[in-house]
């Protein structure tokens, strides 16, 4: 059985890199891996969606709607968009950040609360705030990686540089201080 993950966010947030790190970590554990990326249009501030599947034996590169064990969202509106991928009992991890889409203003607290109360297994992770504390929003994907790695049962991928490793550890700590989602 493969673990199916959908990683989403907004172009420029490092969604592709986050997915690649997850894939690398899975590969170092000896798993087979498929990462399905979408390039091109999605890089221009648009929605970005990457599918990651790992397991002893993986064939299909993409996750069907209603088929994801994990949805990992670097942005809250994109988390709403990716809801359709969740399978019953699936885990939803959402970065505490809204990047305003054109023509509509979302209140961060309101979106986060709506997500938290509508899916039983939801983790809200303040990766953006932690990344800013580390000096740059650029680290929010490595903070998120640290947060989800233990949920996914994966180690830190070997290719992280020093700064991203620090961000990874901060993300891992965040998870320690977050109550389990499935009460």
């Amino acid at each position: 059985m493969a673990t199916s993950i959908v990683v989403v966010g907004v172009g420029g947030q490092g969604v592709l890199t986050l997915a690649k790190w997850i894939g690398e970590a899975a590969m170092t554990e000896g798993y087979d891996v498929r990462i399905a990326e979408i390039h091109g249009m999605s890089q221009r501030g648009g929605s970005v969606e990457v599918h990651v599947r790992f397991g002893r034996e993986v064939y299909a590169p993409i996750v069907e709607e209603g088929g994801a064990d994990f949805v990992i969202a670097l942005e809250a509106v994109e988390a709403l968009r990716a809801f359709r991928y969740l399978k019953p009992g699936g885990v939803l991890v959402v970065n505490r950040r809204v990047i305003q889409p054109p023509g509509r203003w979302y209140d961060l607290g309101e979106v986060i609360e709506a997500i938290r109360t509508s899916w039983p297994k939801t983790y809200i992770a303040p990766c953006y705030d932690v990344a800013l504390g580390l000096g740059s929003a650029l680290y929010e994907n490595s903070v998120m990686l640290g947060f989800v790695s233990q949920l996914l049962g994966l180690p830190m991928p070997p290719s992280l540089d020093e700064k991203n490793r620090a961000a990874f550890h901060r993300g891992a700590q965040l998870l320690q201080n977050t109550p389990p989602a499935d009460q």
């Binding site: 907004v10 172009g11 420029g12 690649k20 894939g23 690398e24 590969m27 087979d32 891996v33 498929r34 990462i35 399905a36 990326e37 979408i38 390039h39 091109g40 249009m41 999605s42 890089q43 221009r44 501030g45 648009g46 929605s47 064939y59 299909a60 590169p61 993409i62 996750v63 069907e64 709607e65 209603g66 088929g67 509106v77 994109e78 988390a79 709403l80 968009r81 809801f83 359709r84 991928y85 969740l86 399978k87 990047i99 305003q100 889409p101 054109p102 023509g103 509509r104 203003w105 979302y106 979106v111 709506a114 997500i115 109360t117 509508s118 899916w119 929003a137």
Partner: protein, 591 residues
Amino acid sequence: MRLLLLGNEAIAYGALSGGVAVATAYPGTPSTEILETLEEFKDRFVHWAANEKTAFELAYGAALAGARALTAMKHVGLNVAADPLHSAAYTGVEGGFLIITADDPGMHSSQNEQDTRWYGLQSYVPVLEPGDPAEAYKMAKAAFELSERLKHPVMLRSVTRVSHVRAPVELEPPAPPKWGRFTRDVKRFNLVPANARERRKELVEKWEKMRDVAGEYVAVEGAGDVVVITSGVAYNYVKEAVRRLGIVATVVKLGISVPAPRKVAELAKSVIVVEEGDPVVEFQLRAMGVATKGKLDGYFPKYGELDIGKVTAGLAKALDLPYDPPRPPKPPMEPAPRPPALCPGCPHMGTFYILRLATAGLNPVWSGDIGCYSLGINMGQQDLITHMGSSVGLGAGIAVAGRQFVVATVGDSTFYHAVLPQLVDVSTRSIPILIVVMDNAYTAMTGGQPSPSRAVPVEKITEALGLPTFVIDPVDIKRSVEVVKKAMEVIKAGKPAVVVSRRPCTLVAARKARRAGVQWPRYRIDPDKCTGCGICYNLLRCSAISKRPDKKAYVDPALCVGCGMCAEVCPFGAFVPEGRRDRWLELWQQA
């Protein structure tokens, strides 16, 4: 060496292990990374060509001379190269010649969903169809030997979910490049009718032989009376769907899907066919007298890309089995669409704004084109986009049809790709359209490949053709509007004119600045001055600027790249820079 590789990287490494000497391409999603990967290898001739036809010709010529050569393109690129493709099958080749196309089922970044395997049938070129990066590596490597054995070009058809999928791939070291020297053989290489008739006869015979060769690429797995014939990426969905339904089936994977191997017709009288794209295999099987259940009769969807769910549902339907598909949950709030937009600080954003002001009241037809500037659709300034070169080509047609005023917008890379010959028509018939070349010095939409615009500036070409040409810097909005108005005078006098709007791609400039440790200015809003008029977020439409609930503007500091166009368009002086703009704009121009 086992690496996590993108399908396109795997294809490139496969070609290196296969001894490729000449590799050419024109960038196009999802094919671009093939040549990007090969660019690192300086012992080969690797070239970004002006378009897919010139790319094809370079590689085809090299293969005629006995070198191992490849050309790579997205599916629609093969339309541009279709003329030499058909001749390549007639002449055959001496060195291995691999034609790689990357189809885009689901149209993630394309204007159509064409299945290039049809070209295999039409041009008599066999088509290899890998299902994942590891197989793409093996097929790209073996393709050169296959091509030399057949003395014939071979095609490798990838799709988005092979080219842009990362998976573990076992790599072998690159083989030395195989170069060649041309040997005269007029009867074979000169396709005057008398020679071409002979080649045609040979070609038809060769094709029958290739059906047997295709048989060597058939893999049969499992057992049972249910026979599923599949190819390429579809195989992966079949494997998981068969398991999910818990059925016993014989899964037959075609490594070469065109021509369909003869021996497959002997496997069963009735089969299920699962393939990504059009029913190309299914058509061929029916022509061989096999009863099929596939896309033709709607067991599987005729558009969009496959996934496990669609293939499971199709198999269940074909076998009359019950299947309860997963029900996707609904989100608690509607996510507003987030369509791709021009990057914050994109020079094209300024160009569109300038054009709107300069043509106010004239209601032009906005004739658009493929590339970043297609995103002008968000500003209502891309009335049509159909193919590479549609801007000037179709725009000129619209102008002669009913004397409408046409503004044709095209990027620099597309200009060299498709517009050069169109300029000759526009110039010789003096068709009064305004051609706007948005020159950002890169093929930006595909990730910033080099464009010829610095080596051969647009204005040198247009002026040589006698077209009045005006050059503007789009971030200098006020002055540029006046210059474009001068160009409009030419149009009003019944003649064509060209505007070259020049400033390098923001993404490239920002990347270079970051590496050099250069800080650019950032703009913020003075809330006392902002009146919420909306010019910046509605008309300029910078994606770093959003509308607050009180209608006032907000600049996301993480997205602002300091172009200052917002400050130029704001009538109230509400945008305040932090840092110096003039020095940044100078550095940017050199990116």
